[in-house]
């Protein structure tokens, strides 16, 4: 009988209930149809591979169950594990130093440490060989006969780590920025030391970001084609490419492709299990106070030294070697700048096309999932993420099969290439757009409706402006990756259509290091600004 205000004063309860109310809404038909179409397009390559293999199961099974295949699987997984471990070992301290300490010039270090991401691994591998290989700069400089071999596992491990660790660094930095510093204050107040606090309070909150970043690195390594070829490491993509080039029996190649996709799906599944098991949520209201930077004191010297060493090895040396080869090429007259300009135009066209198509498709999927959650939209979202599990080389092969058999008119067209690239990199754009949408409370859109604006108007005047940063970031990610993409471009580009990436590859494979240096430099100049925007976004926006 004493039911007073307190017993019912549960203001938090209706919120959760209301979000479940939203789940019962139906999306507008146009958006839903667009989403289904996009999902179908993304699934198309994988589905077609399955159809090809199912139509002629014998050779595909033989190849897939070959003992040789087992060896390739082991080697590829081993490399992925090694690169993931070292990437985390590098990214974790750098993320902490550049977000939470008073490291001098931490914004600059953050940018510099993220920049190696724009160096395509095949460029990195070629520079590694050109600098340290049997005929490299180091041997000439030292004047010795032979250097220890840099080919094989160790070479691939080092090179892939140097150019993929930013994939862990980026999510870690943004996760660190999001952590409520009051939690650390609370832990300290309860008698935990700084290290204990980091381990018991900060690390658990970083797990989702670590899992996401580590997963990206592992998937990246497994689908990498250029670096492993140049460093002569016999990984899965290599096996597929050789099979594709050397035999007319494409079902065997398709079988290999499916095995690789299954491996990557398994990895994705493990990653999602880790993330959901470790998911953290921010409790409590209001915006977090900006954290008070941790004073490094004398430790800033070793910290600066480590950052400098990393930037030197992963950024300055590669770019330096590139500039050296480029100047050699120009002075020797073997490089045509007008040719390079044409290549750049082709790359820009492809990249921008993929960014627009991928960005729009990602926007549709993000809106469907963020505003109309339900079984159908969840399925569409999963399909949208299929690109994660499909290496570029597999997407390209599947589309070649599809085009040659079903729609020959599309075979070796620019449209096909842009389609492949946007499908492949679509998941990269869904992330930032979805995150931006999650920041926009549906209540804000409802308020706009109540103020007399129709749904389209509300999207134009409220939702879209609030999503602008996320859409730009998503499109930029697609762009950066599309212009770097090698195997899909090699396989799908129209005959005679050369991009910066294919030119670098071709010239390198002939050993013309000077000729590939200018396109590689241009590629870096185009890719760096969007990447800079992405790494700075978190600190500048809001």
């Amino acid at each position: 009988m004493e039911a007073g205000a307190g017993a019912f004063g549960d203001a938090a309860a209706p919120r959760g209930r209301r979000s479940s109310l939203l789940s019962r809404r139906r999306p507008p038909l146009v958006i839903l149809l667009a989403g289904v179409a996009i999902g179908a397009c993304v699934i198309l390559p994988a589905a077609y591979l399955v159809i090809v293999v199912a139509g002629d199961l014998g050779p595909a099974l033989d190849t897939a169950l070959d003992s040789r295949t087992a060896g390739v699987v082991g080697r590829t997984l081993g490399l992925a594990a090694a690169v993931t471990a070292t990437s985390i070992a590098i990214a974790l301290p750098i993320a902490w130093l550049t977000v939470r300490t008073d490291l001098p010039g931490r914004r600059l270090w953050a940018t510099l440490c993220t920049l190696p991401l724009v160096i395509p691994t095949y460029v990195g591998a070629y520079l590694f060989v050109a600098a340290l290989g049997p005929n490299g700069l180091l041997r000439d400089a030292l004047g010795v006969e032979r250097l220890p071999s840099i080919y094989g596992f160790s070479g691939a491990w080092i090179v892939l780590t140097l150019f993929t660790y930013p994939l862990v660094l980026l999510p870690l930095r943004s996760a660190l920025r999001r952590i409520d510093p009051q939690l650390e204050d609370a832990a300290r107040a309860m008698g935990r030391g700084p290290f204990q606090t980091f381990r018991s309070v900060v690390m658990p909150q970083l797990w989702p970001a670590l899992a996401a970043g580590g997963l990206l690195v592992a998937l990246f390594v497994m689908s990498d084609f250029g670096a492993v070829s140049i460093l002569r490491f016999d990984s899965f993509t290599q096996e597929i490419y050789i099979s594709y080039k050397s035999s007319f029996d494409r079902t065997a190649t398709a079988g290999l492709g499916i095995v690789l996709v299954v491996l990557m799906l398994a990895l994705l599944w493990i990653g999602s299990r880790i993330r959901s098991a470790r998911a953290t949520h921010r409790l409590g209201p209001g915006p977090a106070r900006p954290p008070r930077p941790y004073a490094l004191g004398a430790w800033r010297w070793p910290a600066l030294a480590s950052c400098s060493a990393l930037v030197l090895i992963a950024l300055v040396l590669p770019v330096g070697v590139l500039v050296y080869w480029a100047s050699q090429g120009i002075s020797a007259g073997s490089t045509s700048l007008s040719l390079a300009a044409g290549l750049a135009a082709n790359s820009l066209m492809t990249g921008i096309g993929a960014a627009i198509a991928g960005g729009l498709a990602a926007l549709v999927i993000a809106v469907l999932v963020g505003r109309y959650p339900g079984p159908l939209t969840r399925t569409i979202e999963r399909a949208g993420h299929a690109g994660y599990a499909l290496p570029g080389i597999v997407v390209a092969l599947a589309l070649v099969f599809f085009a040659t058999r079903a729609v020959p008119i599309l075979y070796q067209t620019l449209a096909m290439l842009i389609f492949a690239l946007s499908v492949h990199y679509l998941p990269l754009a869904i992330g930032p757009i979805g995150a931006a949408l999650a920041q926009v409370s549906p209540r804000v859109e409802e308020a706009a409706r109540g103020l007399g604006r129709g749904p389209t108007e509300v999207f134009r005047t409220v939702t879209a402006p609030l999503l602008r940063g996320g859409i730009l970031a998503g499109a930029a990610l697609v762009f950066v990756h599309a212009i770097k993409e090698l195997p899909a471009t090699l396989i799908l580009a129209p005959i005679g259509f050369r991009t910066l990436a294919t030119e670098i590859w071709n010239q390198t494979s002939y050993g013309f290091y000077e000729a590939s240096a200018i396109p590689a430099l241009i590629l870096l100049l185009i890719a760096a600004p969007p990447l800079y925007l992405l790494s700075e976004r978190g600190t500048v926006a809001s």
Partner: protein, 349 residues
């Protein structure tokens, strides 16, 4: 300065909304007079917020009608989109547009080229005329709440809906803002319906209170009626502390341990519902006052809560001013001094 809204009455009838098997709003009937302030009061989960969202057009009802003035915005086969309802809504978390400044938020509902004078007028109404160009995230909670109200009032809506408008504010600010917002709403002359789970809030702001429970409106009345003549034990206990003393009714009179008083239309065993502030105590009482012993006392400064054991063993509470102080063990007299409600004995308990 014309900030007067074209207030219209609001009428809900037979309003129903279920989510799957669970009815959230289960036949709500309610009328709000033009230009008055009505509180929809109930515990969380009683369907009051869903009712508000149905009125705003943010959810579609399964059945029932909603009328705003002469316009039927909801009826079988008829659903007016939220943007055409001429309703202002103030959300619990304000839902201000983060990419617009104060004036941008307030002018949003005025079309693509908002009338600046109107924006200034409404900002003046809420006392924020100096802050027109500030980004909304710089504002305090109270200021954000007033921007949200100004934004809702700017397009001269006929009805303003407020969803737990004060729940995100701290206690001191909440008290002051309640009165401010009440003044603003009355000055604007708009019909206002606000949802709250806080009894004091409902009783202090509203002219009419509708108490909701499990998807239905259990009682509608003035704050005084609701408080002193609750329609059910549930309403009585939801609105504040209540003591239930068993009694016997016969020939227009009720006898119980705390005294005898008139009661019509009941006969036989009854419950007498008395709020602690209506139970008076003293060393000597009027005729018929009960003998009691003080068993506990809690002192709150301006008042005190005294627990008494009656001769029957029942313990009741009496809320008195802070002085004189009573002490456990004091032998005193207790009687009813104020409204008491009589209901037939609840067969369950």
């Amino acid at each position: 300065m014309t900030v007067v809204a074209s207030a219209a009455p609001l009428r809900l009838s037979g309003l129903r909304k279920a989510y799957g098997e669970v009815p959230a709003v289960d036949g709500v009937e309610l009328e709000v007079e033009a230009g008055s302030i009505c509180a929809l009061l109930g515990p969380s989960g009683c369907g009051k917020t869903t009712t508000l969202r149905l009125i705003a057009g943010l959810e579609r009802p399964d059945a029932g009608e909603i009328e705003i003035g002469e316009r039927t915005v909801n009826a079988p086969g008829r659903f007016v989109a939220p943007e055409r309802r001429r309703i202002g809504m103030v959300f619990q978390d304000y839902a201000l547009f983060p990419h617009l400044d104060v004036a941008g938020n307030v002018g949003y509902g005025l079309g693509r080229r908002p009338d600046r004078d109107r924006v200034a007028e409404v900002l003046a109404l809420v006392g924020l005329e100096a802050d027109a160009r500030r980004p909304v995230h710089e504002l305090s909670g109270g200021q954000q709440q007033r921007v949200a109200l100004a934004r809702a009032l700017a397009p001269t809506p006929e009805v303003v809906l407020l969803d737990e408008p004060f729940s995100n504010l701290d206690a001191g600010l909440r008290d002051r803002l309640r009165q401010e917002i009440r003044e603003i709403l009355l000055n604007a002359g708009v019909t206002a319906l606000f949802v709250t789970h806080d009894q004091a809030e409902a009783l202090s702001i509203a002219e009419t209170v509708a108490v909701m429970r499990e998807g239905r409106v259990e009682q509608v009345g003035t704050p005084e009626e609701i408080y002193s003549r609750p329609a059910s034990r549930w309403v009585a206990s939801f609105l504040g502390e209540i003591e239930v003393v068993p009694g016997q009714a016969a020939e227009g009179r009720v006898e119980c341990e705390l005294g005898t008083f008139p009661a019509e239309q009941v006969e036989g065993p009854v419950d007498v519902l008395v709020r602690p502030e209506s139970i008076a105590i003293g060393l000597n009482g009027p005729d018929g006052a009960a003998e009691a012993e003080v068993v506990n006392r809690r002192f709150f400064g301006h008042d005190q809560l005294v627990e008494l054991r009656l001769r029957s063993g029942q313990v009741v509470r009496s809320r008195r001013l802070g002085f004189p102080a009573w002490h456990p063990g004091d032998h005193i007299r207790a009687w009813v001094d104020g409204p008491a409600d009589v209901m037939p004995r609840d067969p369950v308990g």
